[in-house]
């Protein structure tokens, strides 16, 4: 039995008065890749943004329920959302290197927030993170160049390196490949396979083939509810719910 890294219990979320999630229960296993699929507006992005409390950063947005990470409720009253985000990394749809910073500065940005000092330490962390993001060999001679000078796919891996630098135990990927070409997408998917040996990954994707390729388990969201959740193979070959079947066979969405 795999260890459960994140246990979500009765998670509800709102934008002002509009409810986006209606009581989600899900158990995400440690050192596995879990995919979240569903049509646009189904709440999958809102869900993943709750996992590191980014949802509440939007004015008017709130959430209720329990999210236990290693048994600790990240919605607990004594919990600082800023510290939650330092331990649960996130990468977004659009690659967003900080535009005035070099590749090197981008990677260590999070470490500097944590107050890490010393050139050797930072250099080492930067190299290690870039290696883990499978970007080191492409940029090792250009570390001083601007991050936004890289290609789209490289920029996205730079953002992954930036998220990995602070050594998170969970990495959230919110449609990380939807702005990338197939080759760059392939590289990121390879990377996900590599990374899940060491950390827990949750990926939101609208690309069902991608979910099938990278995820151990998959959850299908519809209208703010989790319709079905289980092993990826089972979801795609023998879905239990009619709505899941309709979606994966392309009958709607």
């Amino acid at each position: 039995m795999d260890k459960e890294k994140i246990v979500v219990l009765g998670l509800k979320a709102w934008f002002d008065e509009k409810q986006a999630l209606h009581g989600i229960n899900i158990r995400i296993k440690e050192k596995k890749a879990t995919a979240v699929i569903g049509p646009s507006g189904c709440g999958k992005s809102t869900f993943i943004r709750c996992l590191n409390r980014m949802h509440e950063a939007i004015p008017g947005a709130r959430a209720a329920g329990r999210i236990l990470v290693d048994g600790q409720d990240i919605f607990g009253p004594e919990v600082d959302p800023v510290l939650v985000r330092r331990q649960i990394g996130m990468v977004f749809q659009k690659p967003t290197p900080f535009p005035t910073m070099s590749i090197y500065e981008n990677v260590i940005a999070g470490l500097k927030l944590n107050g890490l000092k010393g050139k050797e330490l930072l250099d080492e962390a930067a190299e290690q993170s870039l290696r883990r993001a499978a970007l080191w060999h492409e940029v090792k001679d250009d570390l001083k160049k601007p991050g936004i000078g890289l290609s789209g796919g490289q920029q996205q891996r730079l953002c992954i390196a930036r998220a990995l630098a602070v050594k998170p135990e969970v990495l959230l990927l919110d449609e990380p490949c939807s702005a990338l070409d197939p080759i760059s997408t392939g590289k990121i998917e390879e990377l996900i396979h590599e990374l899940k040996n060491s950390i827990t990954i949750v990926i939101v994707t609208h690309n069902m083939q991608q979910a099938a390729r990278v995820a151990d388990e998959t959850g299908f969201f519809l209208l703010g509810e989790l319709i079905e959740f289980g092993g990826t193979k089972g979801i795609f070959t023998t879905p239990r719910d009619k709505r899941t079947e309709d979606y994966i066979t392309g009958r709607f969405g």
Partner: protein, 285 residues
């Protein structure tokens, strides 16, 4: 089907637009040349020494522009020292911090500051500032700071708001606090625009006439004390141009106008260079 080009409208439009566009640099050039021509007497008599000389005696036709250059420069820098932190802080509050309705009200108030006529500022300065600092360089600096505050605030605010939300989210997701997010992801890309807003403020301070004339004391002397009366290029033009007593006096006044123009052109030139340097750093491919 007719595919033969039928009308020359596009050509006419292009020519007209070009002419209209070209008229702007032409007017500028004309202005410059006129000032040089009208000040030829002064230029020939005093030469380059005019801007380094501080004697000012219209009766004996002895002139030096240094006190005015000094007054303009120091009062404008004083204004920037006060207005930049204030304006930037206000812009950060408006663009990044506040989510309340108070924000809109505050932004409107700041914009209204820009609509107040210069002479009203001058009267207000006489009523409120000069009782504290006297007719002095300091009074001019403080008054100018208030006058350029809306420029710096509203331009900086727009620049900050132009920074993509995705950058803020990235910083937040790295575990940055509100202030760290601003420092890490908002201010660096906005820096060139913020410098731009500062320079715009400086440009306004250098050219500002009426309010400065009313509070600066109008004494053509260079004093080490900020509390002493001073004079500025624009103020001396406003006060003395109409009463020029001789051809030389008139010519000197025009040369001062020329210096003022050169000053503002130079400021904007330097600003552009600075901005280009920063933008160049941002996009290298």
């Amino acid at each position: 089907m007719s595919i033969i080009k039928r009308n020359k409208g596009d050509v006419w439009f292009k020519t007209t637009a070009l002419l209209l566009a070209a008229s702007i640099p032409f007017i500028f050039l004309l202005l410059f040349l006129l000032l040089i021509w009208q000040s030829r007497l002064s230029l020939r008599t005093f030469g380059i020494g005019f801007i380094f000389n501080s004697g000012w005696d219209p009766v004996r036709d002895q002139y030096g522009a240094l006190p005015f250059i000094y007054g303009t420069f120091v009062s404008s820098i004083l204004a920037l020292i006060i207005a930049v932190p204030l304006g930037l802080g206000c812009a950060i509050y408006l663009a990044e911090v506040s989510q309340s309705r108070f924000k809109e009200w505050l932004a409107t108030m700041v914009d209204l500051l820009a609509a107040i006529p210069s002479v009203v500022y001058g009267l207000w300065g006489l009523a409120v500032i000069t009782p504290i600092f006297g007719l002095s360089m300091m009074s001019a600096g403080v008054l100018l700071a208030i006058m350029i505050l809306p420029t710096i605030t509203s331009v900086s605010r727009e620049v900050l708001q132009a920074v993509p939300l995705s950058l803020r989210e990235s910083a937040r997701a790295l575990g940055a606090t509100k202030w760290e997010t601003i420092k890490l992801s908002v201010l660096p890309p906005a820096a060139s625009g913020i410098i731009g807003s500062t320079i715009l403020g400086l440009g306004r301070a250098v050219g500002e006439t009426m309010a400065v004339t009313m509070v600066i004391g109008n004494r053509p002397e260079i004093s080490g004390s900020l509390m002493a009366p001073a004079y500025s290029l624009s103020a001396v033009l406003a006060n003395e141009f109409a009463e020029a007593s001789s051809n030389m006096n008139f010519s000197v006044m025009v040369e001062i106008a020329l210096i003022l123009l050169a000053f503002t052109v130079l400021i904007n030139g330097v600003a552009k260079l600075l901005v280009w340097k920063i933008i160049g750093h941002n996009r290298i491919h």
